[in-house]
Amino acid sequence: MAFIELKNVIKNYTLGETTTLALDGINLEIEKGELVIVYGPSGAGKTTLLNLIGGLDIPTEGDVTVAEIPVSTLSAQWLTVYRRKKVGVVFQFFNLISRLTALENVEYSLELVGVKENGKGKDTVSFNSKLIKNKAKEYLEKVELGDRMNHFPSQLSGGEQQRVSIARALAKEPEILLADEPTGNLDYNIGRKILELMEAMTGKALNRTVFIVTHNDAICPLGDRVIRLSDGQIIENYTQEYTPAKELYW
């Protein structure tokens, strides 16, 4: 069984009297550790696909299975647990908590799941605040924000905020990382740096499955797999040799 499976997935949205078909009979299999670029024009269903995999939404019809978990049939409570333990999300508009500093934003995520520590030869999860703080700092340093940890989001630039968002998503070491237009709000240089960061912090070595949604086809070479959507259907689904982020240009 593939790590992520979507079978005959249909998703409708009803707004007032209008029903919009966002996804129309999607069938998909993704292996663990793949970096998947989901590409397509506006309204193609890219974000909807991500939301169904991430447990933010449930399909109208069909099944979504992730790591043998039937995500599409989970209750709201179990979906929360699923998102907490399995999924990391990077948002287009960063979505940092404005009243928390960069460090606290990452700590928040870690306080939900705890920090793994290897004690007496066995992995345990600790909620010790010192351990959590250290882990948060570690990830902020990885995203090169070691000197901006105590700043609030309103004091950070767009690129810095997105880096905090990445640190927050990855600090809890999720199996799946979902990034919806992570560079959509950033200029080229910063956007490329963000992609480089994500590339470095994910990848096959870490066995983390990554989905990046974009409407920018210049980013497509970054992925192991490219899924092109149009009008809620998969037009193309192919694997490729990936191109490092630093070689991308748009």
Partner: protein, 843 residues
Amino acid sequence: MAKTIKNIVRAIKANKLRFLTISLVIAIGVSSWNMMIMAFLDMDFTYNHAFQENNMASFTIQTANPGGSGSDAWIDMENLTSYLNEFKQSVPSFEKIELRIIYDTKFVVRGNSQNGRLIAYKTTDEEGNLRLQPDVNGIEILQGREFTFASQYQNVCYVEGHLAEYWKLKENDFIGLGDQNIPFQVLGVVASPEYLMNMGSYADLLPSPRRFGVIFLPLRVAQNILNVQGQVNEISVKLDWGLSKSERKHIASRLKTYLEDEKGLKLGEPVDLDEQIAYWLLRMDIQEARELGYVLPIILLGMAMWGLYILLGRMVVAERKDIGVAQALGYSRKTIILQYVGIALLISIIGTVIGTVLGVIIASQFSPIYAKMVTLLFPVYTRMDPVVIGAGFILGIITGLLGGYLPVRNAIQPLPAESLRFDPSLHITSGQIPLLERMLKGLRIKLRTTGFKLPVRNFFRSKKRTFSSIIGVVISVSLISCMFGMFESMDLALTAQYQDIEDWDLRVDFSEVPTNTSNIVSAIKQIDGVTAGTYSLTSGATIFSNFSSNSKTVQLIGLKESEGYLGHTFEFKSGTYDSEGIILSVPVAEKLKVKVGDMVSLEIPKLTKLVSTAPLRAHFKMVNVSFKISGIIDEFNGLVSYLGLDKLKSVSNFPGDPANSILLKVENPTIEKLNEIRNIIKEKYDYNVRNIFTKEEQTSDLLVLLNAIYYIVYAIVGFAMALAVIMVYNTVYINLQEQQREIATLLTIGTPNRRIIRNVTIENLIVTIIGSVIGLIFGWVLLWFMMDVVLDMEFFRIQLFMSNSTIFQSFFFTLIAVLIAEYFPLRRILNLNLAEATKERVV
């Protein structure tokens, strides 16, 4: 313009619940304005109508000793008439005069004796023709038939409405008069403007028809039974209604001087209309209503204005980009402001219209209900006052205009480019760690990010909205604590007075003052169960001091100490009991500006000639006697003074052991035992006993009133909670809506719902705690204002009291209201579509 109106309606529809709550507050404010002001005007008109239509006396003058015998008690009517006719030549504003007999005596009604007052007036005019009404202090026949010409030769009477209602008396019933229990047939039931409230004197704290009632007789009949043929003891004068109090008092004073100095009469002090008990009490009552009628609506409309200010302020911030687009397209600032002001205006118009209609309906019902509560027997007039309605309407509209214009005016300042760049989501924090958190950090108290950190920072996030929530809590807690405090204060005062201070189980009131009371008490003490007995003499006195030009008329009680038993346990503010000195109450001492150790002068009747001892009949003259103040008491009864009975007796020259009440202590005072003793006393002394009652009987009417007040208190508690729900709901809603994307993000990254609920609840709990502390302080201030300023009655002295239970309940009920208020916005936010909410740039 059409587009603007369309936008206004659309905006209201999008936020209908929140705008509805503000409309509701405006409606309550406007309706309370209409209701209370119009009720005040209605009652004012009703009272004035009753007084004017029935020719209420401008002043009355009684003889110096109206219950006695001799020249200081009675005046020849014919002579008096000619004196008055002579005097009125010099006073153009003299309209009418009525000569009457006013006599306090015993009634026997359905086998029960009680205190009463008979009022007798001439039923014929100067030509000898029948007249149906006295010229002054008229009456209205509610039921029955009129006096006839023959009535002046018959034992017939009218019964005043309160007495009739209590004993269910009607036409052709009989009541007994005086110690001889002379039967009188009831011809009818009447209402009298002098007895709109059934009170015999200021000293009667707990007026009840069971203890005091009034009947009206033809003058000739009264003269015959009292054996004072051709005589009267009261002059009632009606002057021009438009005269001021000082003008009336001047004329009254001139008349008294004229009659005393030139005609040798002996008269008491004139009683002006404003000092007439019922008139005074009722005017004070509606004055209090008027004060509340102005204050309460202003508070409510202020709250509504603030609510609108917050709501519209938030709307403008959220829509700043749209405003920028509108400005870029060429819409003027004025047009944009008009749209938002239009929203506020429409909400306030809706609220004002509802409030006006409600207020008018309630006002028309309120006055009759109030009249029934105070047992007003005259017809109640309810009128729609267009000025009041108009003023209420304007107040409601102004609330909307100010609440709408002020937040919008400044927010639409920026250039279009600034508005277009504006990201609301970046403007929901100050980017600072609150001082409280820094202080806690200094104390090495660290808050977890998923713990208290977020709620604490949220609390300080938007000071205006937090302030608004706190205001809602403050108003709720202060109203609840004030209401419970008022009730508790009254309850405690009554409990202290009638359980601790009034140290007796049975009280015997005599019709006539016996002079062998000590023998009577000794005999009663032989009754099985009676453990102690003493007696007291109550009269009136006027106290003067050298430290103030004020004087005070009080109930003067002479207490006899029998084997250490006084019948009264004093609650001293200062000083102590000294049988040679005088004890004043706090209000009297404050009015006279005196303290313990000072000398005061009492004007009291001194017996000059003893006519008989059984019953006690004598001639008196008013004398001034000095006393040293030995103590000042802080008790429920505000207009009372005490001294030793022996001292009072000696300065008044009374013979023997005079008293008008006996106080008894009973061992194991069950109802059965008390009734047993009561029956024995009645059997032996019924010839002179007017009333025997227990404490419970004395307080029963007031306890019924207290129970009614309790329901009103709970009604106001419900109202206060509703206000808190409305205020807090709006601010919680806005708070959560501003944080919608953030909360959606927290839920997305795996925060459980219960943690979001906990955070919001903690934040509101902090608001409730802070608001409660401030609210309790305001509650105390409001309690003081209500009890000491609005309800200032010198004859009731009530200590302010607020128990821990009240403090807890005020906090608890308000917390319930806050939790209710947060429930609806929380439910909405926890059912968000996360996919959409995380993408929105929504405030």
